[in-house]
Symmetry: C2
Subunit: 353 residues, 2 copies
């Protein structure tokens, strides 16, 4: 039984282009293994978009490498393409969101997501911003319409943080989640562990393309906090906000702090931490009530017994403490655009089955 | 929308009893979170079984602690209970298999599984033997009947090896899986790393209840091989058999082998390894053909870059090398009967959604 999905891709930067290549490279594999046929119908970018003119969709491999200016002179380019109109003429499928939206307004991703859900489209997103700005509104909308809103790619690219928490640990109750969720800061801290200063390590991270020219989102701990927020909302169905998270970053972290940790056989890590109180109820009452959530991002010296002790360099990981399954940690998963694209594809496959 | 499943539990040893307690402890949580109501209708043991006489099923907490002799004089005990007859009068639900079956014949679990599938029941199993003896027959039967046959609990208890490989990495292609899948041997090797002899470490493992009185299944590497086999069959849909796995255990492993590794900054681990050749096809052909599988169980000295380097003591872990998501490792997960019971419950929850 073969199934098929029409796709609309919004955002044609590194992640969007990787996704475009990925579904071409894997078309045969996806059909054989999952019985799913994907057809990319729309690519939306600033100022317009490409609209497929054939049943096989947008699959000319050269598109992936066109600079934006040339994309805009492609024969299929429609200036000012109206997304609502474009998807209205298609069978509802999946909107793949790879836009870089504003963390303040959530735009342009937020409006696209709302529109897609309104029109009966599922949404998978690598763009965190719409979820930061209006998570509960989007989730309510998706539930009303019985649509999926998935965001593996927005929490930690290919590290399956949400899947492990929601699926692999189903039936257990998670009381604590601790994660190293940002590769840039973990790289800097790992290098500082070798005795180098914060500035020297940051420069190296920039030189190697690990840190962005403006690394403030990462080193301030905000990127970790945002991922933590999405994880708490997805796994605990909590409504905590960024303001509820005590955030301390690693900018200008003094080397002596790291040196002392090293001397004590410890390592400094930027730990995102979510802990939930479990309230014991009266005797006879079996269910433990869900209690208050304590959320923080903080550089911490952890010792070798800690499940995240050996997550070094640009690696990421998350450890879940559960009532019935013990501590389960998952680590690794590529952080590059192809890893994020693979997470988007995975979410689509989960929707289709 | 609440859903309900009738359950039949076969095998009332440590795992079966833990499962019995678990679904009682978690009844309210399972209803609230997953909208699922579970009713245990049958408990099957040697010589007969308990058959529920009320709509609420078998839920007297005292049953969990009754020695087998007293279970057999329980008012609901039916000597020689016929499983086929017992389930015939119920709405098809889920058979929970916690029997200790023979690895040679697969019995008694194999016949129970066949009967359940034949009668329209899903099966979740912590018992490996039926899957070792007739995996493809059971899977074919389940597919024909559109039923689920799940076995998280048979591969590594609460370590979500199958879920990560099949679900979290969906869409990626796995070329290599390396696991530390046996807690007893990992405990012995970890202790030997401190300079103690094999015999001394084995004795301690026995004294602490980690190793069974007859540890041969573990130390011979056979337990690891069996888990590897189930993982290969589930994730790669391969039909390899135990004979295809080169098995070397750790029995009487010379201490100097471990000492040399320690001197070199390495650790000796009993690694279960599954590698699949990827055959490059002719140019233009996009799909990589699935190649030959190389499977082995062997004590190996691994260095600190290996994703399993820090999996010590009774811990277990598995690392997946993929094409698009990099290396993803998952570790931990309780190995005790409650962990295995939690894995059974998880499989049931996955069936229900």
């Amino acid at each position: 039984m073969s199934k098929s999905f029409d796709l609309a891709l919004a955002g044609f930067g590194h992640v969007g282009r990787s996704f475009f290549r990925l579904i071409q490279d894997k078309a045969a594999f996806i059909e054989n293994r999952y019985g799913l046929h994907l057809t990319l119908q729309v690519i939306l970018e600033q100022g317009g978009g490409l609209l497929s003119a054939s049943p096989s969709g947008l699959n000319d491999p050269e598109i992936a490498d066109l600079p934006l200016a040339e994309l805009r002179s492609h024969p299929l380019w429609k200036p000012g393409l109206d997304f609502a109109q474009a998807i209205a003429r298609l069978t509802p499928g999946v909107l793949v969101l790879a836009t870089p939206s504003s963390l303040k307004t959530g735009e342009p991703g937020l409006s696209l997501t709302r529109l897609a859900l309104h029109s009966g489209w599922h949404v998978v997103t690598a763009d965190k911003a719409p979820l930061v700005v209006d998570f509960s509104g989007l989730r309510r909308k998706a539930e009303q319409k019985r649509l999926c809103l998935k965001f593996s790619g927005a929490t930690a690219a290919a590290l399956p943080a949400l899947d492990v928490g929601l699926y692999c640990l189903a039936g257990s109750e998670i009381s604590l989640m601790e994660g190293i969720l940002n590769g840039t800061t973990n790289f800097i801290l790992t290098e500082m562990g070798k005795g180098r200063s914060y500035d020297a390590c940051l420069e190296e991270a920039k030189a190697r393309g690990i840190a962005e020219p403006d690394p403030s989102l990462d080193v301030s701990g905000r990127d970790t906090a945002i991922k933590l927020l999405l994880i708490a909302r997805a796994i605990w169905e909590s409504d905590i906000t960024l303001e509820d998270i005590a955030i301390e970053g690693i900018a200008q972290l003094p080397l002596h702090f790291v040196r002392r940790a090293t001397r004590e056989g410890k390592k400094v890590k930027l730990i995102g931490r979510l802990e939930r109180e479990t309230k014991e109820l009266a005797r006879g009452e079996k269910k433990e009530k869900q209690g208050k959530i304590y959320a923080s991002v903080q550089p911490q010296a952890i010792d070798s017994n800690h499940p995240l002790f050996n997550v070094d360099g640009t690696n990421k990981a998350i450890a879940f403490t559960t009532d019935t399954m013990g501590i389960v940690s998952v680590s690794g998963g590529k952080s590059d655009p192809r890893g994020a694209a693979a997470a988007l594809l995975k979410d689509i496959l989960h929707i289709s089955t």
